[in-house]
Symmetry: C2
Subunit: 127 residues, 2 copies
């Protein structure tokens, strides 16, 4: 969610105890699971390791009222996976929350900061 | 900026090219430099390594119209440091921007998410 012309990256991380129940990485993973109907396919599609994808799914599934992803056992490569009804609702409200954060870029504070920040860092004087 | 009862951590990262010109860590460091008038004192106060504090100051000083921190050479332990006028303005607008992000927690989307998320992750069924 960073566009070059905006240069502001906003991250919303929703905690469940010490774990992040939902954040940018988990939201992308959920969307990819919905599209690919498999955790390994989703991980490949977003350039995430299979191990990490499973880890994030495991955390999500333990942080909410009920699991956000369901898997079915299958052949040699494992079965499919799908996002549950709760998973789809969580994803949709999370994306809406992110959109609300973006309204901060309409503020005078953001305009002031943009007026002062460079487009590229200066080089070191000695390098 | 995470309170246990809210459980939402919002991060605003302002980019200058590929570098982060301002974010939560740099803002805290600036505040600590203002309070301690030294980079090493500031680093100690917020539990950041001296090396990392210098690195962040270096990035900040190259990302904005003019430096946010000025240092003066001194004795064996190095001299003092202070936040410049631009540094104080950047910090103040950055903190105001963060406050605006917090308004997202007044939304129906946030209320829905809070209704579904657990206060602690469930244990693994097999652990």
């Amino acid at each position: 969610m960073i566009a070059p012309e905006v240069r502001l990256k906003l991250k919303a991380q929703l905690y469940c105890g010490e774990e992040i129940a939902m954040g940018p990485g988990k939201a992308s993973l959920l969307e990819a699971i919905e599209a690919h109907c498999s955790i390994s396919g989703a991980a490949r599609a977003i350039g995430m390791s299979y191990r990490r994808a499973w880890l994030l799914v495991d955390v999500m599934n333990r942080c909410w009222q009920s699991p956000l992803v369901e898997t079915s056992m299958g052949g040699a490569r494992g079965g499919g996976a799908h996002v549950t009804a709760l998973g789809r609702k969580v994803l949709s409200h999370y994306r809406a929350l992110e959109m609300q954060l973006e309204t901060a870029t309409a503020s005078a504070d953001w305009a002031a900061l943009v007026g002062w920040v460079g487009t590229l860092p200066r080089e070191h004087p000695d390098g």
